[in-house]
């Protein structure tokens, strides 16, 4: 077992973000975390990353509270925290100072593979920026990659490059949890899909089993979350 979420409740002021969430993440899986905006996807990822603490329940990664194993997990937030003047090289330098597992060789390979320009982030398109951020995230050698909406609001070519890089970089032993509300393009990548609705897990299924029953992830998404 790579990570475990048990009976988790999370509330922001009056807003119940997650209620009674249970989830077990196995090693070597690509998990799609699917739901509409406000379903609780980001909250769940932040809990797994140790950036939030649950009000009730338990979150464990490799048997520990996530904060104890930060070196084993990568969290890619939806919002870009980097300054506009920073170049990909600056990001790489910063990340390798923070995380000893940051692999420069891999970073440069990913940058080349996704064709990311070497300019400051402020001079990149949204898609290029998304690719640069993914390269930084995947260049670390962690066990758990938590990617919050890496495909949202960017151009088709960038989405395609990102998907291809994810397939290419996903190695055995690593588990990727990828949240998205643009299911169609990404669904081939998933081993498993977890559907969140209004803070609850409404379905947790192996995607090939869904297809065996004649349903794609997109169809299931519409059915379950409508």
């Amino acid at each position: 077992m790579l990570a475990k979420v048990e009976g988790v409740e999370k509330r922001y002021l009056k807003n119940q973000a997650l209620s009674g969430v249970n989830l077990k993440l196995k090693a070597e899986q690509v998990v799609g975390l699917l739901g509409l905006n406000g379903a609780g996807k980001t909250t769940l990822l932040k809990l797994l990353a140790g950036l939030l603490l649950p009000d009730r329940g338990r979150v464990e990664v490799l048997g520990w509270p996530p904060r104890r194993v930060r070196g084993q997990l990568v969290y890619l937030p939806e919002q870009d925290p980097w300054p506009a003047w920073a170049t990909p090289r600056d990001l790489a330098r910063l990340m390798s100072a923070l995380f000893p597992d940051f692999d420069h060789g891999r970073f440069h390979e990913l940058m080349a593979f996704m064709e990311v320009p070497k300019r400051p982030l402020g001079q990149m398109s949204r898609g290029q920026k998304a690719r640069a951020r993914l390269a930084v995230a995947l260049a670390r050698k962690a066990r758990l990659y938590l990617l919050d909406e890496p495909l949202a609001g960017i151009d088709l070519i960038s989405r395609d490059r990102i998907l291809k890089a994810l397939v290419r970089e996903w190695r055995s032993q690593a588990t990727i949890v990828l949240s998205t509300h643009e299911v169609g393009e990404a669904e081939g990548l998933f081993d498993r899909a977890v559907f969140l609705k209004e803070g609850r897990v409404v379905l947790d299924a192996e995607v090939e089993a869904l297809r065996q029953q004649g349903k794609s992830v997109v169809e299931t998404f519409k059915e379950v979350l409508a």
């Binding site: 397939v167 669904e187 090939e208």
Partner: protein, 123 residues
């Protein structure tokens, strides 16, 4: 080689297996040919490498491919292409017959329609 993958059309591993069979039946893939590695194929198709590995395992179980250690996955030399072709055409015939029945045609009428289309194609 034409890989047709549609996430809406059933399990992806099954579609990869079927693509290989169709390739053999159509002659775009020959006995002895090397298949791309699971990783490369996963990248090309934008699908999970586990799914491709599962498809390769199924192909090997069916006696269509063999893994040569350190070299990759190959179509077996002795694969029975004629039998695969036969199975595929029967499946297509079955689909045609089901469609005809769904339209309320008898078997004779379905056969006649097929003959008419064939003759029209010849002239």
């Amino acid at each position: 080689m034409n890989w047709r993958i549609n996430p809406e059309a059933g399990p992806i591993f099954r579609q990869i297996v079927d693509s290989v069979k169709a390739g053999l039946a159509r002659g775009t893939l020959s006995p002895g040919a090397k298949l791309p590695s699971a990783r490369v194929l996963a990248e090309t198709l934008r699908v999970n490498p586990n799914t491709v590995i599962r498809a390769f395992e199924a192909l090997e179980r069916e006696g269509i491919t063999e893994t040569r250690r350190g070299l990759g996955t190959y179509i077996r030399e002795e694969v029975d292409v004629a039998a695969i072709r036969e199975t595929l055409i029967r499946q297509a015939a079955q689909r045609y017959l089901e469609e005809a029945r769904a339209l309320g045609l008898s078997s004779d009428e379905a056969l006649r329609a097929l003959e008419e289309v064939m003759h029209a194609g010849k002239s």
